[in-house]
Symmetry: C2
Subunit: 413 residues, 2 copies
């Protein structure tokens, strides 16, 4: 972990005022630091719900993340850069949100403030309802508040590749948001550009398909400038900024609800736990390293749509892999075996995935690809904090329908 | 108004247990009575929000609707048929909803419990937020509760023609929910059936496009049996059941937010107010009489999708007219002049509309078309209660964007 990608001193020329909603989370925190590091004036807004959910699930980040107040002061102390934090619930505190917008007059809002785990969103009626109510009301409150203030604030939202579903478009690559189809009419086929049809695989993914319709309406009716980033599965933990000091360390989720596949394998390998593959592992998924996530947000802020333009959609992914390929790769590197478990999700056993992802590269993203060095780096972090792991939290227990089978614990501490 | 369409005595053979959510509203109340009349076991669930909104807007139904408790007792008294009412907020009282479902074990739930006025939904940030939060949480709570109870309850939901937008599909008629399009791939075009792309014209219409995605997900993931009815603009006031006694009379909205176009013209004609056409009146809209609405709900209940089948979508409309044609017709019948006012909506000045509506007719609907007798009947009701009108509430004042022009009051009492 080095600081080579860090910028020394603020770059006032391109400095913009940015609110990072959900800036205490796994993607939000490194994004806030990256944007601060390149000279933007950053305020983090978060309701800390991700930490509350950890309390409810009786689990913690494998890495020892510090309270947000401490995180923010350490960053300021070490870099001399200003970073603020405001505890505000986007879905619940609309009037305060309006006040904050009017007082801070941001150029851009980066919106990560949604419940983001598919398994958690299927866990219980309570979790389903929280995911829908929080995500929809939060996004709508933001759009509504921007209209109410009359400010020309750009919105950059984190979507998901999961809005597209898998295998819908045959051999055609998944486009970036929009698709031109032929519609039959009595006068022959006509071409129409449509938002790619929604095929969400969980309540969580569904909320991002709802967000898309909210964005389309507010862009059309109110001319809001919105970019929706359909991200793949993020892997890795640290960015140059979060690696500056242990007190700035990023979250590392390994539990059955929030742990995502590649990081979960790395953590399992670090503690010698079998690599848990659900079903055959024939599912192909899209990936991106956390270092690229933060760069993509920077690029999206620098390239807003014009007022009156439709929502800009980028696919925020750099590579695709089959889950089984990744498991085999990690198994080969570490000697840890693969365990094929029942799949708690309702999904196709196997799928191909071919994703268009040209826009970010054209705008200057230099993709970080999966290499052994980076895998090793994440595994080292997992090893360093392995003593913090609760082995009873590793197996995925949230199921898509009542009565679906899950595996017993494979390893006890 | 006669009772010829009424059924004498319950028809136990086809009797099903139905909850009518939003059963105190303009469509909900006559539906509840119709379903009770044909022998179904009906419980009305309503949060009375439509009455509360009247309080907030300082307006009342032109017709003197009675409190829901009185309405229900009068119906029972007159017909000997059981009808219950439960004051429950679908969006706010999830746990009670689950209890009600478990205790009543309904065969079907008819879901009208949404904020349903487009102008109201654009009126203010508060109204936009209420519309989204209430409509999305209400629909999602219902779906979630059905899954949680494990009961096989059919859902019949009132959607809107407004999900489709106008003019999207060129000369092709708007299909009933689904559309087969050609998607280009490297191996040639492939056919894909998609939900008709969403083109909502207001926050209210947008919520019904969100509902569609909720339905699609819960039908796919949980096998829920759901029918979505994309209804046109309802006109008329009474059904044979609501006409039985003045204490059963249906609502008649004439104000700028809740008054819909044809009924608004009839009320305006009755009091000699100019017929308020927004813009050129070149907007073509789809219509249905309230007597057909209640029949369509009956038919939808009788023809549920199977478990595992996709959401059934019907277009619940019988005719289409240009707004200017209707104004001219009413003007000719009544001698009241037409006033072309600024359009407070963001919409095309003119559009054609060609709607597929074969399914209900195939299932036995005998469409009530716009005839002078029925127009006269509605005008008589408007005349009878004209003394109740507040003339300052007639002009539409809710605008789609800040600063859009509206007309001054055209007539004072």
């Amino acid at each position: 972990m080095d600081g080579a990608d860090r910028v020394d001193g603020p770059n006032e020329e391109h400095s913009v005022k940015v609110l990072v909603l959900g800036g205490d989370g796994f993607c939000g925190w490194p994004t806030a630091l990256h944007l601060s590091d390149i000279g933007h004036d950053v305020t983090i807004i978060d309701n800390l719900s991700r930490r509350y959910i950890d309390v409810d699930l009786e689990v913690e980040s494998l890495t020892p993340i510090r309270p947000i107040g401490e995180r923010v002061s350490v960053w300021q102390e070490l870099t001399g850069k200003k970073l603020s934090f405001l505890h505000l619930d986007l879905a619940q505190e609309y009037d305060r949100l309006v006040t904050v917008l009017l007082e801070s007059r941001p150029d851009a809002v980066v919106h990560f403030a949604e419940q983001r785990a598919a398994p958690y969103s299927m866990r219980s009626a309570k979790a389903k309802r929280y995911t829908v109510d929080n995500n929809v009301s939060g996004t709508h409150n933001l759009l509504c508040a921007i209209v109410e203030t009359g400010l020309d604030i750009q919105v950059v939202h984190l979507g998901t590749m999961g809005v597209y579903g898998y295998g819908w478009s045959g051999s055609a690559p998944i486009p970036e948001g929009y698709l031109t189809v032929k519609v039959p009419t009595p006068d022959g086929d006509i071409d129409r550009e449509i938002l790619h049809p929604a095929n969400p695989g969980s309540v969580y993914h569904m909320t991002k398909t709802l967000d898309q319709l909210l964005f389309a309406f507010y862009a059309k009716n109110d001319g809001l400038r919105i970019t929706d980033l359909h991200q793949g599965i993020v892997w890795g933990t640290q960015t140059p900024q979060t690696a500056l000091d242990e007190r700035l360390i990023n979250r590392f989720d390994y539990d059955g609800d929030y742990g995502t596949v590649l990081n979960r394998f790395l953590m399992q390998a670090a503690i010698g736990h079998p690599l848990t593959v659900h079903g055959t592992g024939g599912q192909t998924r899209a990936f991106i390293h956390i270092k690229d996530t933060v760069r993509c947000i920077e690029i999206a802020i620098d390239n807003p749509p014009s007022r009156g333009e439709q929502v800009k959609v980028f696919n925020q992914v750099t590579e695709t892999y089959r889950v089984s390929e990744l498991a085999e790769l990690i198994s080969r590197l570490t000697g840890v075996e693969v365990a094929n478990l029942p799949n708690p999700r309702k999904e196709a056993a196997e799928n191909d995935l071919n994703v268009t992802r040209d826009q970010f590269v054209a705008l200057g993203l230099n993709p970080t690809t999966l290499d052994e060095g980076l895998l090793e780096e994440s595994r080292e972090i997992a090893k360093k904090y392995a003593h913090r792991a609760d082995y009873t939290k590793i197996i995925a227990r949230s199921v898509w329908n009542k009565g679906m089978e899950t595996a017993p614990d494979l390893m006890t501490k």
